[in-house]
């Protein structure tokens, strides 16, 4: 079975494969885990010793009329109990503690790996899915680590230990109880197969229910505008009903399995009483042994029931771990250079040589591109939707590598430049100013968290936001909220430009906003943009006439190829493709 994850084929591993990989990758935690397992074993052994003490007390004390033995075995039992408690506590703490440490590291590792992947990966995968890797998937593991892991270890140890103890007490009686084992295993296997399918369906359906609710809420305005409330509710009712049925199927499995196991336990009790009772009457079995077997019986079944209870947790954890490993196995499309050439400074010359690129290599978006941008030059790339403009921007900052040809900075292939150096010299500024939650200061200092206040205010002045920032109640410490939602679109843009100015790169690649911003700030944004681009090499992906006209040269693209290059005024005069674009723009602007 193959699951497609972000374009990379990831083989869904068997449960054993996933577990052994987790063990391989736990590094120094392995030692701690072994220690924790040791403590758990000790705790289990202490628990198993309890019935032995009780048996001694009953046989040598109660039935032998010896008050001293009764008293002393009771005292011994209480001492054992205290030890049991201490050991049980240590076992829980150590096993779950190791697990949590493992998860803490896994979380960081997964996130670091995610961020190291190419931008294309983020386009292929829905944000919600990536977020769920870091939240619900890790949570599924946490649940197992906290509630399941100790159970699994203890239960397995208990079943083994109780079996051994029973054989020590009386072989024939032990065989009687163990005769139930095949039935128990058969019932568990059937249950497992059925429950696997049932829970699988429950998981699928809950996903659909939540997605439908989510959509019903986000789309409620459209639903009401087209008065489709009843239809929507009916559709949802069907999805919801399927989820109910899936749950009921799982409930049916549980409601059959657990009573069946309980009946087996009673059968065991009956067998002990019948066979054991006869032997006590024969004098071949002590009453204390019979009594101990009754205690062992419940200890034999309880762990098996516990295992069934944590089975679902375990399945979910393995599925989650498998998804996380799948993400960790995804490789980036833009690998770091093996032997990067250091580049402390740059003059900012960008060269694109015979570049060919397609998100799917079979369908090239850029068929051929040759372009040289001189240091300090401003080049605007224009063209209709789908002409490949934005792809040029992504190639220039190495969000993608070309399938053919080269993109160079100062004559060095971008693939050979150290990533940190590259990011320092070339910055992409998407004009829809994306801000992170945090303060204005955090956002402006993004590229240089150590920038001092004086320098920060200087940037604000240069970008023309110093007065506005100063007028805010919390000034530079104003929280911008999630994605900068407290600010207007124009304000966000200005802050984003300030952030770029702080980075102070030699080359700026600007992807102009397609949608309209608040007109009040439009002028301010124009001025700030001028300041930012001053003296830098700039590749501007232009959606506006004015922006393109201000460039030193314009590159007109159509269908993945350059159709015209030259200074804007010359191109307009030449009457080619750019002149035609100009005509459409002006017609639109003048209402003709």
């Amino acid at each position: 079975m193959y699951a497609r994850f972000g374009g990379a084929e990831h083989k869904v591993e068997s449960a054993r494969g996933v577990i052994s990989r987790a063990a391989r990758e736990s590094g120094d935690l392995r030692g701690k885990f072994l220690l924790a397992a040791g403590v758990t074993t000790a705790a289990t052994l202490l628990r198993l010793a309890g019935p032995l003490v009780v048996r001694f007390g009953v046989d040598e004390g109660v039935t032998a009329d010896d008050r001293g033995v009764v008293t002393w075995s009771a005292v011994a039992f209480f001492v054992l109990l205290s030890l049991q408690y201490v050991a049980g506590r240590a076992a829980l703490r150590s096993v779950a503690g190791v697990g949590e440490q493992f998860l803490r590291r896994l979380r960081e590792r997964v996130f670091r790996h995610m961020l190291s992947l190419d931008v294309g990966f983020f386009g292929r995968n829905k944000t919600g899915v990536l977020v769920s890797r870091m939240t619900s998937d890790v949570e599924a593991l946490t649940k197992f680590v906290d509630e399941g892991a100790v159970q699994v270890i203890t239960s397995v140890l208990m079943v083994t230990g109780v079996s051994v103890a029973m054989f020590i007490v009386d072989v024939r009686m032990a065989l009687v109880i163990l005769a139930l084992l095949p039935f128990l295993l058969a019932a568990s296997l059937v249950f497992r197969r059925y429950a696997d399918r049932a829970y699988q369906r429950v998981r699928e359906h809950i996903g659909q229910v939540l997605a439908t609710v989510q959509e019903g809420i986000s789309g409620v305005r459209v639903v009401q505008a087209y008065t489709q409330q009843t239809e929507q509710a009916e559709d949802f009712g069907q999805v919801n009903e399927k989820y109910y049925e899936a749950n009921l199927a799982a409930a049916r499995a549980i409601s059959t399995y657990f009573p069946a196991v309980d009946l087996l336990r009673t059968t065991g009790l009956a067998l002990i009483l019948l066979v054991g009772g006869r032997r006590v009457l024969d004098g071949t079995l002590s009453f204390g042994s019979l009594f101990a077997f009754m205690l062992y019986l419940s200890w034999f079944f309880e762990p098996i029931l516990n295992l069934s209870n944590v089975y679902n947790l375990m399945q979910a954890a393995i599925a989650a771990l498998d998804k996380l490993f799948g993400l960790l196995d995804t490789e980036t499309d833009v690998p770091a250079a093996d032997d990067p050439s250091p580049m402390d400074s740059t003059e900012g010359r960008i060269t694109m040589e015979a570049v060919r690129f397609g998100y799917d290599p079979a369908i090239p978006v850029i068929k051929r591109l040759d372009l040289e941008v001189a240091p300090g030059e401003r080049v605007a790339v224009v063209g209709e939707t789908g002409a490949g403009k934005s792809t040029v921007a992504k190639l220039a900052v190495r969000f993608h590598d070309p399938d053919d040809g080269r993109v160079k900075l100062d004559g060095v292939d971008l693939r050979c430049i150290d990533t940190d150096d590259l990011r320092q010299h070339i910055v992409l500024v998407p004009q829809e100013g994306f801000l992170f939650s945090g303060s204005l200061s955090d956002n402006l200092r993004y590229a240089d968290p150590d920038l001092d206040d004086a320098a920060l205010w200087e940037v604000c002045r240069q970008i023309g936001i110093a007065d506005w920032v100063a007028s805010l109640e919390d000034g530079i410490d104003t929280e911008v909220r999630e994605r900068g939602s407290r600010l207007s679109s124009g304000e966000r843009q200005l802050v984003a430009l300030g952030r770029a100015l702080v980075a102070d790169p030699a080359v700026i690649v600007l992807d102009e906003a397609t949608s309209n911003l608040d007109p009040e700030k439009e002028q301010a944004v124009e001025v700030a943009l001028g300041t930012l681009l001053e003296g830098r090499t700039a590749i501007v992906i232009a959606h506006r006439l004015a922006t393109a006209d201000r460039a030193d040269r314009v590159v007109v693209m159509a269908d993945g190829e350059v159709v015209e290059v030259g200074p804007p005024s010359e191109l307009v005069a030449a009457g080619g493709a750019y002149a035609e674009l100009h005509r459409v723009w002006e017609a639109s602007a003048n209402g003709r």
Binding site: A74, L115, G216, T266, S298, R544, G591
Partner: protein, 586 residues
């Protein structure tokens, strides 16, 4: 995640009443599950008693003949017990899932009916929490209800049996019951408050990751991956700390759950053993005491858990109840007028509107439109253009004034009638995770494929749709193929056109469409607008030119009316507002 509020003490009564009301709706499941639970309970009590009988009558009194029939009784009780467990579990699950499913349907239906103003002030996350975490909280308690009823009966019965069998030993061992309950409650309380903090940190984690992923281009542009890793790492540390606290609590309490019944076993050995020697207690009773302690272990734990869950569940129940009892601010009139005949005559009279605790948006807006005419609304940001579009289909009601459609006040009409007569194409269109065809036919599910294609052609969408992987059957939306803003707007436009409304409102509906395509749409729109009343909200002069007249809005009222050219020449403020947006293209 959403907002999971902590338990509110005052709400418990209210929540319990709501839970009781829901339970009463499923008498069959409730009765059967409680009955089954009581059978199970009776057998739980009978079990050790029967075992004692075997030990005393058959073994101690050495009557081998009694062994088989008595053991048969034990087995019979075991069968009844198994049936009780199965029935209890099945019907309890059924009760809880049925109630959850029905409530979720009601919540969904209700959310669909609540007006725009409600959705403006309520976040998606909050409503999601009602339909997911709150409901499952509620369900857990319902599922546990039958077993809890039986458990409480069991606890009382077993204590009575123990005390009757041997008052001294009975009292001593019965003390384990309140002790365990107390520990269980305390533990659950601790876990609750810590896991509440864990939920908060998880919500932070999800925000952190969401932000880094959505802003990945910024992160990468500035090479700040490590800064993001550090941010997430700090949140992960908080989660880790809480998790370790949780483990600490678990490590203290869970072994106690095992130790407390064991202490009772030890006491039975000590006191019971001595009393057997003294001849006060039989050996069989001694065995029964031990068995009862084992038997009680599980019910005690479950009851403790139930008691701890109850406050949280009733808080969830109160939140669900509150949502369901929120009345829609806009609904059908009691006796709706029949839809008047006409072709879309519109009349706004002294319409004023302001959002709750916001400044006034419209302030005495007057506009009369003849059927089949079109106007363009122009105005600076915040002048109330979009509000006009929202008032017409009654997404909001005006705070003063009235709107008439073909002579009838729109508040007198059934919403269904009104909204099928008025279609709005929004600036930020919402596409459902469904096929393109289903999205276009959203307001007219019975439309034929030809009608859908015609609407798409009128919106200049047909060509790009045919280029999609599966054409009209391509799934789009959040879980489907990503479309550009302009493409989404064109689908939304087709959706509005297909409705064939008397009044068509285009609320900046082509703002993301590039200039060449818009020109195409303009040409086909002329056909669409024929014979219907159209209101166009737009910035681009070429789009404005589609309308017969321009209505210039300023500060919530009509400042000027007339053809574009005349306003441009005569109203300086109009030219000014337009100039701000000229030069913006593609």
């Amino acid at each position: 995640m959403g907002d999971v509020a902590g338990p509110e003490p005052g709400a418990i009564g209210l929540g319990l009443r709501f839970i009781a009301r829901v339970v009463r709706r499923y008498p069959r499941e409730t009765t059967l599950s409680i009955l089954a639970a009581l059978v199970w309970m009776a057998m739980v009590i009978a079990g050790p008693y029967l075992t004692a009988l075997v030990v005393d009558r058959a073994i101690t009194e050495e009557q081998p003949d009694l062994l088989l029939p008595l053991v048969g009784l034990v087995l019979l009780a075991g069968v009844a017990r198994a049936l009780g467990i199965g029935g209890r579990r099945y019907f309890a699950f059924r009760l809880s899932y049925r109630a959850e499913t029905d409530l979720r349907n009601r919540i969904f239906e209700h959310i669909q009916r609540l007006a725009f103003s409600f959705h403006d002030r309520t976040s998606t996350g909050e409503l999601m929490a009602r339909a997911s975490t709150d409901l499952s909280q509620f369900r857990i308690v319902l599922a546990m209800l039958p077993i809890t009823v039986a458990n409480l009966a069991l606890l009382v019965a077993v204590s009575t049996v123990l005390i009757v069998m041997d008052p001294l030993l009975g009292t001593v061992t019965a003390l384990a019951i309140p002790a365990l309950l107390l520990v269980a409650r305390r533990y659950a309380g601790q876990v609750l408050s810590i896991s509440f903090e864990v939920q908060q940190s998880l919500a932070d984690m999800s925000t952190d990751v969401e932000e880094a992923v959505s802003g990945i281009r910024v992160v990468k542009s500035y090479g700040q991956e490590e800064q993001e890793v550090a941010r997430v790492g700090a949140t992960a540390d908080r989660i880790f700390d809480r998790a370790m606290q949780l483990i600490g609590q678990r490590a203290i309490h869970v072994p106690l759950f095992e130790a407390l019944p064991a202490i009772a076993t030890g006491l039975v050995l000590l006191i019971g053993g001595l009393r057997v020697i003294d001849g006060v207690l039989t050996l069989g009773q001694f065995v029964a005491f031990t068995e009862y302690m084992v038997v009680l272990n599980f019910p005690l734990r479950i009851t403790g858990f139930f008691l701890a869950e109850l406050p949280r569940a009733s808080a969830a129940a109160v939140r669900i109840r509150d949502l369901l009892s929120t009345a829609p601010e806009i609904s059908d009139p009691e006796r709706p007028e029949p839809m008047p005949k006409g072709r879309g005559r519109l009349c706004f009279e002294g319409v004023s509107f302001s959002y709750p605790d916001g400044p006034s948006v419209l302030d005495g807006f007057d506009l009369a439109m003849e059927p089949g005419k079109s106007v363009a609304l122009v105005g600076p940001t915040g002048s109330g253009k979009s509000t006009v579009a929202y008032l017409l289909p009654r997404f909001y009601d005006p705070t003063a004034g009235s709107i008439r459609l073909d002579g009838t006040d729109i508040r007198e009409l059934a919403l269904e009638d009104l909204r099928s007569a008025v279609a709005v194409a929004f600036e930020e269109p919402f596409l459902f995770s469904a096929t393109v065809r289903e999205n276009i036919a959203f307001g007219a599910p019975d439309a034929t494929h030809e009608q859908v294609r015609l609407a798409a052609r009128l919106a200049s969408a047909d060509a790009f749709i045919l280029d999609l992987p599966d054409g009209y059957d391509t799934t789009v939306g959040e879980r489907g193929f990503s479309l550009s803003g302009g493409q989404r707007q064109r689908i939304a436009l087709a959706r509005a056109v297909l409705r064939d409304p008397r009044v068509l409102v285009l609320d900046d509906a082509m703002s993301s469409v590039d200039a060449t395509t818009e020109q195409e749409i303009r040409e086909s729109l002329a056909t669409v607008m024929e014979g219907r009343t159209t209101i166009i909200i737009a910035h681009r002069p070429a789009t404005l030119a589609l309308a017969d007249e321009v209505v210039f809005l300023d500060a919530g009222r009509v400042a000027a009316v007339g053809p574009h050219e005349r306003l441009l020449a005569e109203v300086p403020r109009y030219a000014e507002v337009l100039a701000e947006t000229v030069g913006e293209v593609v």
